[in-house]
């Protein structure tokens, strides 16, 4: 028989954090925690690795500035060089000051949008995606901790979690 998972509900972030520490000291396996708002320090406590989205954003920004400069170099320097208002367009470096605003905007454009798209894909968020929080109260005021019982006695685990201030405990279906 596969090991059972308990849905443990809390109604306060401080109680939840204390409960996680206690459960960890007992070596209970916490599979997932659903929260209605970001609880600071929770990811560290659960040893969730730090996200690398900021790094991706930096890389996307590099892509953006490369695309911008390549595009402007092709359009203004290679394909049809002109002397517009005494601003010569015969080499990229000469014309670069005029290209800074557009290059900056495109850097931001790429860095922001591609990072957000990456976030949506990594967290599996898109329209028509079905929500996966097991209980609707977890977007309101309930914090749900899922504890894998493993080889422990289920009643013992439940009683322990009950003592940490859980308002409700039931079996994950």
């Amino acid at each position: 028989m596969a090991s059972k998972v308990l849905n443990v509900f809390y109604t306060d972030d401080d109680i939840l954090m204390e409960a996680i520490k206690k459960a960890q000291s007992k070596n209970y396996q916490i599979e997932e925690v659903f929260c209605p708002f970001p609880v600071h320090g929770l990811d560290k406590l659960l040893k969730v690795k730090h996200t690398r989205l900021a790094i991706t954003s930096f890389l996307y920004g590099l892509v953006g500035i490369t695309v911008a400069l390549t595009m402007m170099n092709f359009i203004m320097i290679v394909d049809w060089p002109q002397n517009i208002g005494g601003k010569p367009s015969f080499s990229l470096i000469e014309n670069l000051p005029s290209f800074i605003p557009t290059a900056f905007e495109m850097t931001v454009f790429f860095a922001a949008h591609l990072m957000v798209i990456t976030f949506y894909m990594r967290s599996k968020l898109w329209p028509f995606k079905k929500a996966e929080n097991p209980d609707p109260r977890t977007t309101d005021d309930h914090f749900l901790m899922q504890v894998n019982v493993g080889n422990n006695d289920i009643q013992e685990v439940a009683e322990f979690l009950h003592s940490t201030g859980a308002v409700e405990i039931d079996l994950k279906k």
Binding site: D43, S98, P101, E168
Partner: protein
Amino acid sequence: MSHYEAPIRKPLVTGEKSYHDISVEIARPVEGKANKSWWIVFSISLIAFLWGLGCIVYTVSTGIGTWGLNKTIGWAWDITNFVWWVGIGHAGTLISAVLLLFRQKWRMAINRSAEAMTIFSVVQAGLFPIIHMGRPWLAYWVLPIPNPYGSLWVNFNSPLLWDVFAISTYLSVSLVFWRTGLLPDFAMLRDRAVKPFQKHIYGILSFGWSGRVKDWQRFEEVSLVLAGLATPLVLSVHTIVSFDFATSVIPGWHTTIFPPYFVAGAIFSGFAMVNTLLIIMRKVVSLEDYITVQHIELMNIVIMITGSIVGVAYITELFMAWYSGVEYEQYAFLNRATGPYAWAYWAMMTCNVFSPQFMWFPKLRRSIMFSFIISIVVNIGMWFERFVIIVTSLHRDFMPSAWTMFSPTFVDIGIYIGTIGFFFVLFLLYARTFPVIAQAEVKSIMKSSGEQYKKIREEQGDDAKLYKMPEQKPLPDFNKLIAEANSTDDTSDKNTKTD
């Protein structure tokens, strides 16, 4: 888990509120029915919008000749309105991005509406250059796309093209920032919804947000990085808008002070608009506990500071015109202050430099009625600022025989009023369908900035427990439950008491 906050900071959420109360109160305007005043304001806005739409159709079908422009003044109301609307848009990003980087908790209650305001006002701004093109269906010609006219490209030396990139990046990034912040709040509405239609709509809008630890971690990181990107972005956008003027050789426009001066002016007018909208909204949808007098006071302080920066810029401009020794430059400013448009200049000075100075008095900046009046005055003043810069610099050009005055036609006025109508139509619809306060973020600052928790800390010291043990449901007998589930697959009887 420290929720410590310096006691000198005033509470940002008043009243005794549980997390559930916050959900209920923020969902209320969405779940309830619109009241009469909403319908009245909505109808007026809709009529204004439709009138503006009529004027736009008339402009496009007849030509730009329907406007009050002439051969000397080739830019007037349209560009004034464009800069005015873009400026208003700046406060939203400032609140959502700059204040996030500075960890200002008071932004939580107002960022959602300020961002909505940003997006709606940038939409209005974008209309003006597109209409002014005369043939708006060719608006895509501003994009650098390969075309059948040979090597005909857009000119990347032109500030007007920089504007295309700046405004479209600004609009789209603000939209995405707003959208991402809405995910958990739409999820809250989805999980509360009773009617299937609403549940379905908010289900789609919430993108299946579930609130896992990893999701929240990414959510916070994305918000932070977007804030870091949006901060230079918002400064760059109005800088580039000011380049439209500053890179020209028109006396009165050709000044290096324009970028910082325009950015300060944009924040100034944007905060004034946020104040205008939120002072009404907090009342209409009863959110006085979240958008408190403290919020209004802080916004008034920002208005005072940026108003003073704008004032210094006006004076610097006058000084530099004199100091430059260029007689055309000197005349441009002399003409502004004493010429036929002196009334507009002094209206601008009074509204923008003089009126915000009242905010030095705590009593005045804490008065809601007074703040509301000043916010309207500032918006009028900022409209005049753009009008003064644009029209007075053009109307007396290098050739005295071409000197003339500008008077708007009913079409100019109609389109302007139309955009105000359109803006309010969008904002009113937003106020009825969106969570107008970022409830997840407000919940996360409750323990540090909520009134009741501040009181507990004041009474019991900084290490006081900020929670009461909740009432617990008795435990079911899990072994029995498992056995039952195995035999009948029925787990309805889960509240059985333990022995």
